[in-house]
């Protein structure tokens, strides 16, 4: 009961602080854009004319190419939603941990008969739940609008929502660790964005090696690559998944999950021992 109380309290706080509503409104605007701006017609079984945001495609194309193009567009859309969704989610949840740990608030919670790990995990799951609701609304909404307009029900697109939630859960584990350690929402958000920003660079670190003066910097880059979530590769994985391409390597997902679990465990260990 105490655990669920913390989760529901977190959702209630997000609702009250308008972060949930802000997230929800932005997604609704995206949905409306898709409803009114996207114009797609399937013509005579084999040919199609496609217009997006009112601009018509230059020529008619055959169905096979159309399907390929459609999947590519859907996968690009999924990656766009991943990036945008995570960006918004970090904003919406950045202050949740530091707020809970403020003087006068944390005393009231820690003096209750519940273990500290329950409190932290409840808060973590509350934040992930908040994002999951919004991401489900975003993904399902976009998928439904496109499917109804085009008449093609591309089910793999829905997997992108799951990946967005998983990526957020991993990044929020880092934010939780930073939030518990430094108790500052700005620093917690910066940590998540830092991971997002450097992930593409780290993925292509072999191209950076030539620019580095000493071997030690290569080792350092390698080290950072292996202890941070591979969000860029998860974006690629999402794209492949939605495009219907075979997934050759699940390692980015596995490693990122392990890193997320590691950061969450470290946050719990720090929280269990910290004085407030």
């Amino acid at each position: 009961m105490k655990f669920w109380a913390i989760i529901s309290y977190t959702l209630r706080e997000s609702l009250a602080k308008k972060t949930f509503m802000g997230f929800f409104v932005i997604i609704t605007i995206v949905h409306l854009l898709f409803i009114f701006a996207l114009n797609v017609d399937i013509v005579s079984g084999g040919q199609a004319a496609l217009s997006l945001f009112g601009k018509e495609a230059p020529r008619a194309i055959d169905m096979e190419k159309l399907m390929f193009g459609f999947k590519q567009v859907m996968s690009a859309l999924a990656v766009l939603m991943l990036t945008g969704g995570i960006f918004l989610a970090i904003f919406a949840t950045g202050s949740l941990m530091p707020n809970m740990l403020e003087k006068g608030s944390v005393d009231l919670l820690l003096s209750r008969p519940m273990a500290r790990w329950q409190l932290l995990l409840g808060r973590y799951l509350g934040a992930v739940g908040l994002v999951a609701i919004n991401v489900a609304y975003m993904t399902a909404g976009v998928w439904l609008i496109i499917s109804l307009k085009i008449g093609l029900w591309h089910w793999p697109f829905l997997a992108s929502g799951l990946i967005i939630i998983v990526v957020f859960a991993i990044l929020f584990a880092i934010m939780t660790f930073v939030g518990v350690t430094v108790r500052n929402s700005g620093v917690a958000m910066m940590a998540a964005w830092f991971v997002m920003f450097f992930s593409p660079l780290l993925f292509q670190r072999d191209k950076i090696y030539a620019l580095l003066s000493k071997k030690i910097w290569q080792w350092l880059l390698d080290g950072i690559y292996y202890i941070t979530p591979r969000t860029f590769e998860l974006g690629n994985l999402t794209r492949s998944l939605v495009a219907g391409e075979p997934i050759i390597d699940w390692m980015p997902l596995v490693q990122s999950l392990l890193v997320g679990a590691g950061f969450l465990s470290a946050a719990i260990v720090v929280f269990e021992k910290k004085d407030f």
Binding site: K2, L108, S111, P113
Partner: protein, 317 residues
């Protein structure tokens, strides 16, 4: 049975540079009203936070209800009103009681029954459906007291319970505490308001610079050894000088004699001497200090090494 037991508790901050608790030991018997007094930065809040698991002792041990404080279950029968508490301002009074009741595993039907009763008890029955951001400081304090009582605690920790409350509200809170005491609850009050502690508590400890300087009942703390107030008929200066020749600890204070003697035998000799001088004796009373006098006596006699350092650390943090 002792409901609170602290043994040689030490708490250092800032890698040992700040010694907030310095070998503190104390016990609080079940059903008593215990007052922890001390100047700002003495370590009172640190001690309470340690007992509630909000911070951890550097060394030493503590038990509540006979169980180590490290077990979260010991807090099931504890109510806590912290100093400068911050309930989420987006909630209404009823919601605060409900959420914090849930955090303490109070069943739904009990929460629904107790919430209006408690709001009535603290004089807030009309405010349950108002968002707490509209509450005054005194109202927040009353709500905090109601929250502390939500799980029907056996032990109440109250950190500056009347902070920000007007004199009428203070009286009401004092009356409530007396009522809880009569019901057999144990009350642990942390305060620097000596008069309030004196009115509610039966046992007191005075802390300074992280140490318990003195601990005992109010009676023990305010009784000042073998000093007595002796009321007589008007006494002439020559007679007083004669008395002072015989007894070194005699002085005239506000129209009566005050004498400090070694023991009861000397007190009796002093009275015999008065009678021999045919000085009319009207009353002999043990001299009692006020709690404030006892407090200052204890504080001034205590080491103050870390006090200023601790105060500056508390201000910084």
């Amino acid at each position: 049975m002792n409901i609170v037991e602290v043994r040689n508790a030490v708490k250092h901050f800032n890698r040992g540079r700040i010694r907030a608790l310095n070998d503190v030991s104390l016990t609080v018997p079940r059903g008593s009203a215990f007052g922890l007094l001390g100047p700002n930065g003495a370590g009172k809040t640190t001690l309470v936070k340690m007992l509630l698991g909000i911070l951890f002792p550097t060394s030493g041990s503590a038990k509540l209800f006979g169980q180590p404080i490290s077990q979260p279950t010991v807090r099931e029968k504890i109510g806590y009103l912290p100093e400068n508490h911050r309930y989420p301002d987006f909630l209404k009074g009823n919601d605060v009681l409900d959420y914090y009741g849930r955090f303490s595993a109070v069943p739904k039907e009990v929460r629904e029954k107790r919430a209006p009763e408690l709001l009535k008890l603290v004089g807030m029955e009309k405010w349950g459906t108002t968002k707490i951001k509209k509450y005054s400081k005194g109202m927040m304090q009353r709500l905090g007291l109601a929250v502390a009582l939500m799980n029907d605690p056996e032990l109440l920790f109250l950190d500056e319970p009347t902070d920000g409350v007007d004199p009428i509200g203070r009286k009401e809170i004092r009356d409530l505490l007396q009522k809880f005491k009569a019901e057999g609850k144990t009350i642990f009050i942390n305060s620097h308001l000596l008069s309030e502690v004196e009115l509610v508590c039966d046992t007191v400890a005075i802390m300074n610079a992280g140490k318990i300087v003195v601990q005992g009942s109010i009676d023990q703390l305010t009784t000042s050894g073998h000093t007595y107030r002796v009321q007589t008929a008007e006494i002439k200066n020559e007679a007083l000088a004669d008395l002072q020749n015989w007894f070194s600890g005699v002085e005239s204070v506000n129209g009566h004699l005050q004498v400090t003697v070694r023991d009861y035998a000397e007190l009796n000799r002093f009275i015999d001497h008065l009678r021999q001088q045919q000085i009319e004796l009207r009353a002999v009373l043990p001299h009692r200090r006020t709690l404030e006098e006892s407090f200052f006596a204890a504080i001034q006699g205590a080491p103050s090494g870390d006090f200023n350092e601790l105060k500056s650390f508390a201000n910084k943090s």
